[in-house]
Amino acid sequence: MIRLEDVRKTFGKQEVLKGISSTFLPGKVNMIIGASGSGKSVLMKALVGLHTITSGHIYYGDTDLANITDSNRLALRRQIGMLFQNSALFDSMTVEENVVFPLNMFSKESKSWKQDRVNFCLERVGLVNTNKKYPAEISGGMKKRVGIARAIVLNPAYLFVDEPNSGLDPLTSILIDELIKEITVEYQMTTLVNTHDMNSVMEIGDHIVYIYQGKKCWEGDKNAILTTDNEILNNFVFATNFLKDFKQRRN
């Protein structure tokens, strides 16, 4: 479980996060949504410790990220897997080397055990016969899958996903969304997805936090999002004609 208490982040004089509080539960796909520039990426980077928050608290279980020793921080980071917007695969390594990299760094298991684990993770995300290919030789959707395989190879308790569908076609987007949902339930991870894709939200979102201009504007589940009278959220959610029609028909 991840709990946020009044999280604030300032860059110079500009306050980007303005006191965000929420709780993200294990086994659920928690979605942080909001328009571009609303502060959701900063929030995610603060959550994984890439940004130091100005005030407030971020708890991983009972551990406060603000009062953590360096060694405990490293130990905590080993429980975190992250899929980046552009996958962030290491260009100089093959698919297989990318996935085995965290294992080589932290696991004392045998080489054959690591190889089996890599093959299992790659098969789990639906990748076969790509082990020896370099990131430049595979498609965007395949890169996302490799990114997911690398993120789950150490069996993390927390999975962070930044814009999983950016640059993907609708069909591949759905496949990636389904994969995120499946592995979240299967491994009972606390998953946080940062997106502004409403299709994703309606497909896999269990718990949704809407960020508007650095503040938490709304929180709830995907059923409530269609019936809320929050005007700011409605402007965001029903920006597309498809969902507008859907709401009118539902009403």
Binding site: K45, G49, L50, R77, R78, N86, A88, L89, D91, M105
Partner: protein
């Protein structure tokens, strides 16, 4: 400007300090260091070969041109060419060229990793990114550049002998006699001191420029250019300081 200098110097020092943490897995760091040595060393052989041979050849021809008096023995050309190769031409000129090749390569590689979030990925995995990315490159450069400079010195003198022989300026045996007569082992020590210093300067400055790249492809290019410019300036500065201190 002074504030800017102290800001960058402080950040550079802290970055170098942050490399010295216990490696997560020593063998991976060792493999990465070996990989960097091959990449930086083998990749620079051709350029080192070309510039060294031509430096030696041109120095021989120009020295002969300036020695117009018949009272000066021809063997002095061998002395001048070999001593200048050991003391200045091989270590400094070769390092300036290597600053262009290795410096831009290191800065653009690390800079690209920064803007494509690969460094963030390392940090989130719990890996000490400066230790994993910078330390192997710096160790590789500090080991490889002196080896390249030893090779460059030999090729430079070889180029001089070849040019002297082909143009009929000086016989090979006379050239070698001249080089032997004035050979001073301390010059080699001084040359290696320079080489190690330049290796550290090139790699650490380029790593720093790459590591703190912000933005996109344009900024990676700018970091790469800055890495080469600052490395060259610091090579020339340290050349003077070392000469003043040691000679």
């Amino acid at each position: 400007m002074l504030a800017g200098f102290f800001y960058h110097f402080g950040r550079y020092t802290l970055l170098l300090k942050s490399m010295w943490k216990r490696p997560e897995n020593g063998s991976i760091y060792w493999q990465e260091t070996m990989r960097q040595m091959v990449s930086l060393g083998i990749g620079s052989l051709v350029i080192v070969f070309i510039i060294s041979v031509f430096m030696g050849a041109v120095t021989t021809v120009q020295t002969a041109y300036q020695l117009v008096s018949g009272f000066i023995p021809r063997s002095i050309i061998g002395s001048i060419v070999s001593d200048s190769s050991i003391l200045e031409l091989a270590p400094t000129i070769t390092s300036l060229v290597l600053a262009g090749k290795m410096g831009s390569s290191i800065a653009s590689e690390i800079g690209t990793m920064r803007v494509t979030e690969q460094i963030d990925a390392l940090e989130i995995m719990g890996i000490n990114a400066p230790g994993y990315l910078l330390l192997p490159r710096i160790i590789a450069a500090v080991v490889i550049i002196p080896l390249l400079i030893i090779l460059s010195t030999a090729l430079c003198i070889g180029g001089g002998i070849l040019a002297g022989h082909l143009s009929g300026i000086i016989e090979s045996s006379v050239f070698i006699d001249g080089a032997r007569n004035t050979f001073n082992a301390f010059n080699v020590t001084f040359s290696m001191t320079k080489a190690v210093t330049y290796g550290f300067v090139i790699s650490s400055i380029s790593c720093y420029q790459g590591y703190y790249t912000e933005g996109g492809a344009l900024e990676v290019g700018k970091s790469s250019t800055k890495a080469v410019v600052f490395s060259c300036i610091l090579i020339l500065l340290s050349d003077y300081v070392l000469a003043q201190l040691i000679l």
